[in-house]
């Protein structure tokens, strides 16, 4: 499906303020001949925490990466905050965004990766203030002030001047979360944030995410932590083979899955 196809049969969300934060309708994505997303239907409401679960290779990461346009959508419709991802609408035409405009939109979406991806040549503080200064044009003092407050929020104020490699995995991931929050995002994406961590460090990171959820942040979280999904998520979405197989309130999907494949998956991860 092409961009113009997208326009023809779209029902634009009424206005950005009322639309869901993420709205996917029939999102397709292929790598070569390998169709990875086969028509994803999904919404994430404002202030909602949605956990994406599902087997390896089911397309969870790919979908998350489509949301902030690290990957292009091949077909279907995907809105973030009332705007079509990767395009801007003028009249009845969708214009592809310039690189600069894509970057500007990404500043509103925070992303946390499985393997942290901190910048190893910068101290913790420099990791945090780099993007606010370069992408948002903040003054150094202003950015630093916010960074220090966020480091305190994630319990790492004493690591301000450390280099990432001198931190534990759990500490690095908390720095990565603080780094994303420095941009004051309206949406946070987490791609298996605790999968690379030693078991005893998982709790610290999940605690930070719990607190973040409590502040009303909109979050889409790919995770294998079922207890986190049950306790923190408003809704759980089960992915399998590039499709959403089942979704619903967290407690219902996890304790009483309806679909055969969801049942099999949950039996396996327990």
């Amino acid at each position: 499906m092409t961009a113009t196809d997208q326009v023809k049969n779209q029902e634009q969300p009424a206005s950005p303020g009322e639309s869901p934060m993420v709205w996917a309708e029939g999102v397709h994505k292929s790598y070569g001949r390998n169709e990875v997303l086969k028509g994803i239907e999904l919404t994430v409401g404002r202030g909602e925490v949605v956990c994406l679960i599902g087997p390896s290779g089911s397309g969870k990461s790919t979908f998350l990466r489509c949301i902030n346009h690290l990957e292009r959508v091949d077909g279907g419709r995907l809105w973030v905050d009332g705007e079509v991802v990767g395009y801007t609408q003028r009249g009845d035409k969708l214009h592809e965004l310039s690189d600069r405009e894509i970057c500007r939109r990404r500043t509103h979406i925070g992303m946390v990766f499985q393997n942290f991806n901190l910048f190893p040549h910068m101290t913790v503080l420099d990791n945090l203030i780099e993007a606010p200064r370069r992408a948002l044009g903040q003054k150094k003092g202003e950015a630093t002030q916010r960074a220090l407050a966020l480091l305190e929020q994630v319990g790492l104020q004493d690591k301000t001047h450390a280099y990432p490699r001198h931190l534990s995995g759990g500490q690095q991931q908390r720095v990565a979360i603080a780094r994303a929050l420095c941009m004051e995002p309206k949406l946070m994406l987490f791609d298996e944030p605790t999968s690379a961590l030693d078991p005893e460090l998982v709790g610290d990171v999940l605690a930070v995410m719990r607190d973040l959820a409590a502040t009303g942040m909109t979050m889409a979280v790919v995770t294998h932590e079922m207890s986190f999904a049950r306790d923190v998520a408003d809704r759980v979405v089960f992915f399998d083979d590039g499709q959403v197989v089942e979704e619903g309130p967290a407690a219902r999907v996890i304790t009483d899955p309806q679909h055969r494949r969801t049942q099999a998956f949950l039996r396996a991860v327990r």
């Binding site: 500043t107 925070g110 460090l201």
Partner: protein, 328 residues
């Protein structure tokens, strides 16, 4: 909020200077370890090898110093000759300029090689293939004789009408020949450096809203430097010596200055020795610079190699600790 996982971790016990492997220490020994005398391991083989090498070195130095035909007095005179000094300065200057041209163009070519556009990729590939595939001396001579190919340079633009003979001076030909050639090698080095940086870094920077240029400048290239600097140091040292080729197109560099003098005085050996000494001095200085540059760019990445000064301090303090222990 959350506790700091790392803060509670115990510091490792302070290492004992006289810690010996468990096996060498009799289990029933009840004497305090501090009272034991240390007998360092003796490396007999190494001592013998070192002695042999010293003897050989002494013989070589003796043969060089005592050989009248080196004409050390002449070497001594011309080592501080003004025209040699000017040649040395030009050699260093030319090395710096050519390396800067090569590095700047090399980064550009490396980024082009990694572009999504196949035309841009191929253009960079073709450049590298041509400039690496032909001898640099040939390239120098071609630039020097450019006027024979293009007597008038217009760049294809109306109103531009330049006399090639006037523009392509020997020095310009040298900079073009060596700089453009160097760019081909530097682009491969920079490309390897960029590829050595984990792709997740670019994703993280992109997800934070940094542009591709900012990502390259602030995130990727600084990390690539760790891989780029050591071979670039070698390239610089290589360039210093390669500049001696420009003497064939009459650029008055260090070698050319030496040649000019010995064509007058008929003392080629001492003057070539003078040139060699200066080349050696500059390459030594460059090697030291390379060491500190590498150290600077490995920040946050691995434990830094100690500087000679740090090594000296460490040796002295270990010594002090040992002797202090014995005397107490």
């Amino acid at each position: 909020m959350t506790g700091d996982a790392g803060a509670g971790a115990q510091a490792p016990p302070a290492p004992h200077v006289d810690d010996q492997p468990e096996s060498q220490r009799p289990a029933e020994l009840s004497v305090d370890a501090a009272e034991l005398t240390i007998v360092p391991q003796r490396h007999i083989g190494r001592w013998i090898a070192a002695a042999v090498l010293l003897v050989i070195a002494a013989l070589m130095v003796n043969s060089v110093v005592s050989n009248e035909r080196f004409q050390w007095d002449v070497v001594n005179t011309y080592l501080r000759d003004v025209s040699i000094g000017r040649g040395l300065w030009l050699t260093v200057w030319l090395t710096a300029v050519c390396m800067m041209v090569g590095a700047a163009l090399g980064v550009l070519l490396a980024v082009m090689r990694l572009s999504g556009n196949p035309v841009i990729r191929t253009a960079a590939f073709g450049y590298v293939a041509f400039f690496r595939g032909t001898p640099v001396l040939v390239q120098l001579l071609l630039w020097f004789n450019l006027a024979a190919l293009y007597p008038v340079i217009t760049f294809g633009l109306p109103g531009v009408n330049l006399d090639a003979n006037a523009i392509i001076t020997p020095l310009a030909a040298a900079i073009l020949g060596l700089g453009l050639n160097e760019a081909a090698y530097m682009s491969e080095i920079v490309r390897a450096g960029i590829l050595s940086v984990d792709h997740g870094q670019q994703e993280a920077a992109g997800a934070l809203g940094l542009t591709r240029g900012q990502t390259m400048r602030r995130v990727v290239l600084p990390q690539a430097m760790r891989v780029i600097i050591p071979p670039t140091g070698n390239e610089t040292i290589g360039m210093l010596k390669t500049t001696s080729l420009v003497s064939v197109i009459a650029v008055p560099d260090l070698l050319y200055a030496a040649q000019t003098i010995y064509s007058r005085t008929f003392q080629p050996i001492p003057l070539l020795v003078v040139a060699s000494i200066w080349y050696l001095v500059v390459t030594s200085v460059l090697s030291v610079g390379q060491f500190y540059l590498e150290r600077r760019f490995s920040r946050g990445n691995r434990t830094l190699a100690p500087t000679p000064l740090m090594r000296l301090r460490a040796a002295v303090s270990t010594h002090a600790a040992l002797s202090g222990r014995k005397s107490s």
